[in-house]
Amino acid sequence: MSSNNLNNTEIRRQLRAVDQLNTSAMPQWRSALQRLFTDETITTNERAAALGVPSPNRRDLFRLGGASILGVALLAACGSDEDSKHSGTDVATTGATTGTPTTVAGEPNMDIVLARTAASLEKLAIDAYGIAAGLITTPAVLAAATMFAEHHQMHLDALNGVITGAGAAAITEMNQAVYDALVAPALATASTEADAVNIALSLEEAAAQTYAFASGTLSTPALRSTIMTIGGVEARHAAVLRMAALAQSPLDVFPGDRGFFPGDNPLAGIDGALITA
């Protein structure tokens, strides 16, 4: 049978069927793409989200399906505009937003001071968990403490990203003033697992409170959100320590039945706690 011996009718029928599928879907697709790439109010991140591809600022998973494959190519052709206007729907779940801290006119750069102070508290927490681990005998509590120390390391890394991004030096040492005022005296008399957990609890609650305070002081929404993506997790740490490690009641997680986390500065009475240099 030669190539000239074709059933043209059947081929045409099959091709028409394929074409009909394409024809029915394409207007919607074309319309959407036209809006996506001609509307200047839509950022690259939004385009990425709509196309199901990771945006330049997101750690995201590829959606499966034809649209995501096409989306990669379209987005690559589009480039990045780094628009921060709609950051509320695009902030990465890692929380490692790197907004550029600014200086309030007439004041020291409080953004950097607060970020460096927060980083020094994270380093203190890492070191404190390391010391406290020697007193923790319950495997489940030790596992939680280890995980929390890892969280604090990630927080430290994220904060140092903000700090170095603003041209300041990264924090590598713990907050010595807070250690001297709060941790060292407690460690000196600590002899049990409960003692160790209570030290950790104090640090976690102080850190969460520091971040709630900082969120009213930092100059940009991006920084305020970043600090609270960390502060919320510190509060979670505290709740776990109370319930799982100290066997407290769920109601004890909220002293005085409080419905609001304290937002005043817990470091106010500790000289040298703010890292200004």
Partner: protein, 213 residues
């Protein structure tokens, strides 16, 4: 090059299969694309601080309504905790309402209530009720992390920052009460999520573009 009719038919059939397989999801994906674009166009960025506060108030009132609906399924061991959480949400609603100005509301978020009503109606036991609340509390925390990216007035941000950790702690308490592993009470790991979604994703906050009146 010679090709037989049978070979051509097979090739055409292969091409047709590829097209048909791709087209199975194409309509859905195009619809999703339209929906996502619609949401993106009506983003949080269009809202001012008072609007965001009003939206947050409506979400808190919806949480109160959800706990009220689930309460009959709870035992005496968990009911006091749920009642405390419900009182917290009422306090949060009052706090947001006080600064929402003309955007203050008196009713729970209708769209959110409509979205969660089927799940609430399907609850039959305490475990289910606690699981439902576990997800809702996480979404509330993430909603506030996202709101913080947009609130311009530091006073609004500071107030929101005193509420976010409470919602996060609610979720931890509920998770541990459910017997979840410690790892599971940190659903988004070492950082709270600040992403928004349509409510179907437990790891994203509640997007006002979807739920705002």
């Amino acid at each position: 090059m010679h090709i037989t009719t049978r070979q051509l038919r097979r090739l055409a059939a292969d091409v047709d299969d590829l097209h048909r397989n791709n087209m199975k999801t194409f309509k859905t994906e195009a619809a999703d694309l339209h929906r996502d674009l619609y949401i993106a166009r009506r983003s949080l960025a269009d809202l001012d601080d008072q609007s965001i506060a009003g939206y947050a108030q409506s979400v808190e009132l919806a949480a109160v309504a959800a706990y009220t609906a689930a309460a009959p399924l709870l035992t005496s061991a968990t009911l006091p905790v749920a009642e405390l959480f419900m009182s917290h949400h009422q306090q949060h609603a009052d706090a947001f309402g006080a600064v929402a100005g003309m955007h203050a509301v008196t009713e729970p978020n209708a769209a959110l209530i409509a979205a969660v009503s089927p799940a609430l109606a399907a609850l039959t036991d305490e475990i289910g009720a606690l699981e439902f609340a576990f997800v809702l509390e996480g979404q509330a925390a993430y909603t506030y992390a996202a709101a913080l990216t947009l609130l311009q007035d530091p006073a609004y941000a500071a107030a929101t920052a005193t509420i976010l950790p409470i919602e996060a702690q609610h979720q931890v308490v509920l998770g541990l009460a459910l017997g979840k592993d410690v790892t599971d009470v940190f659903p988004t790991g070492a950082f709270e999520a600040a992403a928004l979604g349509d409510g179907s994703d437990p790891l994203k906050g509640l997007d006002p573009a979807v739920f705002a009146a």
